[in-house]
């Protein structure tokens, strides 16, 4: 295919994508015409609600709160995941315990199990929310960083040891920089999971945050607010992913596993 033809195809592709999007929204609008608003509100109604929420300080506070919780949980999960992933590197005997016991356990433990246990243990509190989110995010961080540790370049490490006998220097100048792309990969996946699944924590463990807002709206059969909140989450997810994580990925490189 000539480059002009490729260009033309890309152009058509994009036009079709945008028309397709409009068509989907139109279909949504048509469908919503015959359904009561509490079941499926139309795009206009949802759009209007989003505009209202966007200037509503209470809602913005909920949104900021959720974002802050996710930030804290991500930080804790990353640190914990990195520590666990690095353990076999410094204590080879622990490899089996980390990779064959801890990782599969956290990876297959149902999220809702953590939610219920944390609610029982800590009641409605920040601890509950953070605990649940960390427990859900931990395996994603651990898998990525552990992969980075596994492929650590033995030659680069030997280079480090040939110049210094201090392990901390080798750690900060060789080990950590090698792992950065894996941290970025872990961050991207965990950030997505945090918005999609870990919000669950706010349904049970909190009296605020967007998870709570959604649950209240659902109980009130307010589909409009549920949908509007969902779209806000999509927006926040995409913004964070494009602005922060994409920037990190271009700056430091990204490894996906």
């Amino acid at each position: 295919m000539s480059s002009a033809a490729t260009l033309r195809l890309a152009f058509t592709e994009n036009r079709i994508a945008n028309f397709g999007l409009i068509a989907i929204i139109a279909a949504w609008w048509l469908w919503s015409q015959n359904l009561p608003e509490f079941v499926l509100p139309g795009p206009v109604t949802v759009g209007r609600r989003m505009a209202e929420l966007a200037v509503d300080p209470t809602f913005l506070r909920h949104l900021a709160l959720s974002l802050a919780r996710i930030a804290v949980a991500l930080t804790v999960a990353m640190l914990l995941g990195a520590a666990l992933a690095l353990l076999p590197f410094y204590r080879p005997g622990s490899r089996y315990v980390v990779e064959r016991v801890n990782l599969p356990f956290f990876n297959s433990f149902p999220s809702i199990g953590w939610v219920l246990l944390a609610t029982i243990w800590f009641g409605v509190s920040e601890t509950t929310v953070i605990f649940i989110q960390v427990a859900i995010l931990l395996p994603f961080c651990l898998i990525n960083v552990a992969e980075g540790v596994r492929v650590l370049d033995a030659e680069a490490l030997e280079l480090g040891h040939s110049f210094t006998r201090r392990r901390t220097r080798v750690f900060f100048r060789i080990v950590m920089p090698s792992l950065v792309p894996f941290f970025v990969g872990a961050l991207r996946i965990s950030y997505g999971v945090a918005w999609k699944i870990a919000l669950l924590a706010e349904l049970f463990g909190a009296r605020d945050g967007v998870g709570y807002v959604m649950l209240q709206a659902q109980i009130a059969a307010d589909s409009t607010t549920v949908l509007a909140t969902c779209f806000f989450i999509v927006l926040l997810f995409v913004l964070g992913d494009r602005l922060v994580i994409q920037a990190l990925a271009t700056r430091f490189g990204e490894a996906r596993t």
Binding site: L9, L21, S108, F109, I112, L117, K196, Q218, T229
Partner: protein, 264 residues
């Protein structure tokens, strides 16, 4: 085994040493659990014995057994639906490139970014508390996983092998069955494997929020009755079941496939 000397002895014992640490870890964990359970009321931390007995209940009590089967049913149907839908979308994008941007740059990211919790709450409003709600939620959360994996498989297809197939047969179905599907198989299995793992987590959540049966539903009741034992029992059942299926099902199939492909 030859007798090892010096450093060699250490090296040959390494697997045993790992096993030793694994046992130490598990024993320590068990001990901590028992100690914690001794000093805490049952509704906060039940002992391992109580949990083990409760797990046994799921084998002996028909009602519990059927709720476990209901969950399995939900997961399997949803995995299947997401797989088929993802496959159809990925194939359309592959066959008609003009739809590529719509599917991979609009639809797929949207589903990928949409909150699973949001789907569950919406599905209750749409379909009420029912099995349909559960299956819908799980399927729609799994859709982007299937779509992305199958897309990757299609993108990595070996054009030359496909051309070889087409040179021998004019029938698309036959070339698909004999060449296309075998080429795609590793990616299809990978898609199923990821979906199955994630599907369980989502399914329990959906059942708890919106189900009228299944393990998530049982968990919901257990929570209301402050029956922590049951919550832990169900969680552990899931851990073991998902792990066993993953290790002895999917992993084994993948290993077989990869050796088969290497020898080709």
């Amino acid at each position: 085994m030859k007798r090892a000397v010096g450093r060699g002895a250490l090296a040959s014992q390494l697997p045993n040493r790992a096993l030793f640490w694994q046992c130490v870890f598990l024993l320590g964990f068990g001990l901590c659990w028992i100690l914690a359970a001794k000093n805490m009321p049952v509704y906060i931390i039940p002992g391992p014995r109580a949990v083990a007995l409760d797990i046994l209940q799921f084998v002996t009590t028909p009602a519990l057994r059927s709720s476990a089967l209901a969950s399995l049913f939900h997961v399997c149907i949803a995995v299947f639906l997401a797989f088929v839908l993802g496959g159809v979308l990925a194939s359309i994008a592959e066959r008609f490139p003009i739809f590529r941007a719509l599917i991979h740059h609009r639809i797929s990211p949207f589903f990928n970014a949409f909150s699973g919790i949001g789907w569950a709450l919406l599905a209750v409003l749409w379909f009420g508390v029912s099995q349909l709600t559960v299956v819908f939620t799980v399927a729609v959360v799994l859709l982007p996983f299937s779509l992305i994996n199958i897309r990757e498989g299609l993108a990595s297809l070996d054009r030359e092998t496909l051309e070889m197939a087409r040179s021998f047969s004019q029938r698309p179905l036959r070339t698909a069955r004999l060449v296309l599907v075998p080429l795609l198989l590793p990616f299809l299995i990978a898609a199923l494997r990821i979906s199955f793992g994630v599907g369980w987590k989502v399914a329990l959540t959906a059942e708890l929020l919106a189900g009228d049966r299944g393990l998530g539903y049982v968990m919901n009741i257990a929570m209301q009755e402050q029956d922590t034992t049951r919550v832990i029992a169900i969680s552990l059942i899931i851990v073991v079941f998902v792990r066993v299926v993953d290790k002895y099902g999917f992993e084994r199939i993948q290993r077989k496939l990869s050796t088969a492909f290497r020898s080709a």
